[in-house]
Symmetry: D2
Subunit: 267 residues, 4 copies
């Protein structure tokens, strides 16, 4: 019996001779000139234009993730561009490939941990005492399950506090998005610090994971916010690489040092 | 004589324990909550925050490039995600790799053609008659040099006009960015249609190329605006793929059809 | 106190004006014309040229992984090439990005499971009865830990047996590489079928995972064998795409079908 | 009128329950255990198994391209892996994205130049005097058209001769593949050196471009040989990165140096 084909369907957009429609809205007439890139990202993911409060909070999250200096991701993009300057898009792609479990991906880990610990319907009603209990249980469960560091906690540079975290929470609070998840993640940070006996600042990815839960961004694309934001930053790195290149110099230095032990000695 | 190392330098950003600085601005204090993602992209590329007019025009350009439905780029991202759902970032990267000479890259071709034909210092002062001459020369030069289609002209779907072009120029005009380049690209489109005897609508990439020249975006990263905008759209496609998957169904259909001729006949 | 730099070192290769050295061997004099690509891969990973037996087994593993028809990975590469034909390397890269947990990555899962269950030093001495016990424990441990399907077992097409598995084991046996891991993986397959009550053929990735353990390929790069082999296959798909293109046709079909529900009805 | 669908077709391979067929050959029965990875690549691209002579020459070309030490491509792969160690495939992909016009892509440029200058049917019959003329014309045409350096000539390290070139030509000669293209490329190198007044050694990519023309590899996938070979080398770099990591150390060093000018001075 032949296989029955499954129907294919997208609700993101379609075009005809005189129309371009995105998420049900006429792109030229309803969106261009009226919406910024961050709000467009919200529309794409959530299916509706954000409120003014959502726009402020969502854009703050995205802006946090754009530029972190010469990261491994930025270096990978620059080194790729040096070999294929005709393919700027592939250099950005190379830079994005490294946004995995070690760096940007931790936003997703935080969002998953929080949304499993605190169901969405309880996030508005949980009392402080209940949140304390949930935090204790979440920390104990994580430690029972994994030796990996807690997602969203600790930072190699930003100690004892991550300056972005406080500001992101301030923006969330001023716009009505500092609810149960923002409360919970701070309790988890405190409890994790207590049981581990270490200073564990809640870093920006921890704050972002919690705020994404508040906004209702599905956990499985929380990492995607970092990906889209970093794409912006990587284009800027490639522009700077055309003006002040560093890729070939890095190559020469590393190659010389890393192979010196193998080369015949000069007299 | 040993090679002298070239110094390495970035002006995009740096971090210390209690600071995160991007383009000379304190990220938490001066940017978060005050700037949207599109304006952040402008700051990264141009080194300063845009004016309100620049912000409107620049965001309109970016928003135009986010979502074009189930393009080859979106399909590549979805098919990649089906094999490696743990690496959303690599699926976005795969989708970006195809934004080359055939699709999004034409914005860059337009910007290069325009900025070569009309030096920036003359763009504000050139008379209509001068622009007519430049357009004729640019079209003749292109045809002498290449059999490739004109960048920014013609569209497989949007005929006889691309609905995004008129709206983008309207937004540019309302904000003071419909100068010499916007004038010139329209003259080039008319001249190219005249000499080729074909209907050649100025498509959205043509409009965007011209507007980027008006804004002063360096030509070599004009393609980068499409890359960053499409990264937004690709994340949305991957979210939809988790909800209404199409990748595996496409695979099964194509495989069955494309290999049918080689398979032994069933009785 | 300033950070002390860690020294950088590679043992893979170095070049000087008149020398190219790979893994301690003079490339022109000792390798070119004397070694095939599969043996070069073995040399790169294992630090020595393979024996004739190792060469046969290792190349058989790689050859198995080259070509699987129009897979999602091949489709992603073709769709990418359609947009950026000037960047063949980026189209191959896009195709590789999907070789994750769902498809090729399962070879790595098998190798990890086997090498955890059966330490290398015991693989040569374990008795059949001991292997039976290890298999029962490995299956029980997997089921206790995860609801995911067993790595290396089951196949959507190749039922009730995967024709590649028997042949790979035959080659391994003929060359002295059908030891404890090859025995164990077959016992695990039988035990998993017994406890699940389903037909679970040991597929090619299961056989490859076991053979990699026999060869001593470190588990963390077992997936890499699939990546390098598939790179070969993807180049062939891109060559065929230039001769008999399918990418744009796929795009048109999918776009028309997936957006039909959203378009205004024609009368 | 609705669009007529174009039929889709592949001749690379297909699978059924008990069959896996690649290029018309039964994979388990006719290929596994009988063919090495390089010959499989030849089969995939050329549609037939190579002769012993073709196998030696083709594998020599591929082996030349596997490992060049800590290149920008290898560094991009390592930096990517540091951020996403769970996605080895994406780290290889990142490394491949840089194999563009500057590095490996030049093999393709050479093959295109040679096959345009010397049609395949004349390659076997052209006399030395005719080849001299063709070389002079090819050099003049290149200089008239482009200020870019000649593809395949000159090398930053290998001076005055590239040790791989002589060996590759020796292997080609011993196997009957040192015909018109190998003759022509050497004449072009000599002529280019003469008119430029510089030492311009024919580098390995020049030799490979010529040998690919001899073997009949289509020019548009000549770059693909470098891509598949480098995929092998990049997996080895990632394995070494797990044993002797350099990515994070490189990041720390570069970040410290490149941002030092922007940081407040310590007293």
């Amino acid at each position: 019996m032949p296989r029955q084909p499954t129907p294919l369907r997208t609700d993101l957009g379609w075009s005809a001779a005189d129309r371009v429609v995105v998420r049900g809205k006429d792109l030229p007439g309803e969106l261009l000139g009226k919406i910024n890139l961050g709000d467009m990202a919200f529309l794409e993911l959530m299916g509706r234009v954000p409120t003014a409060q959502e726009s402020t909070v969502f854009n703050a999250v995205l802006v946090t993730l754009v530029e972190h200096g010469v990261t491994p991701s930025a270096l990978a993009a620059r080194l790729t561009y040096a070999g294929a300057p005709e393919s700027l898009q592939a250099a950005v792609a190379a830079g994005l490939c490294g946004l995995g479990s070690v760096f940007v991906g931790s936003t997703e880990g935080v969002a998953k941990m929080l949304s499993e610990a605190l169901p969405r319907e309880r996030a508005r009603t949980a009392t402080p005492a209940e949140l304390d209990t949930i935090a204790r249980e979440a920390v104990a469960a994580w430690r029972a399950r994994s030796k990996a560091p807690f997602p969203g906690l600790g930072h190699p540079i930003h100690k004892p506090v991550d300056p972005r975290t406080a500001r992101l929470f301030e923006i969330a609070r001023a716009n009505g998005f500092a609810g149960g998840y923002v409360e919970l993640v701070q309790r988890i940070a405190a409890e994790a610090a207590r049981v581990s006996g270490r200073t564990l600042p809640l870093n920006a990815t921890g704050a972002i994971g919690a705020i994404c839960c508040e906004l209702g961004v599905p956990e499985r694309v929380v990492r995607g916010l970092g990906v889209m934001a970093r794409a912006v930053g990587l284009v800027a790195h490639l522009l700077e690489e055309t003006e002040h290149p560093m890729a070939l110099e890095i190559w020469r230095r590393i190659d010389a040092e890393a192979t010196a032990h193998a080369r015949p000695q000069h007299d």
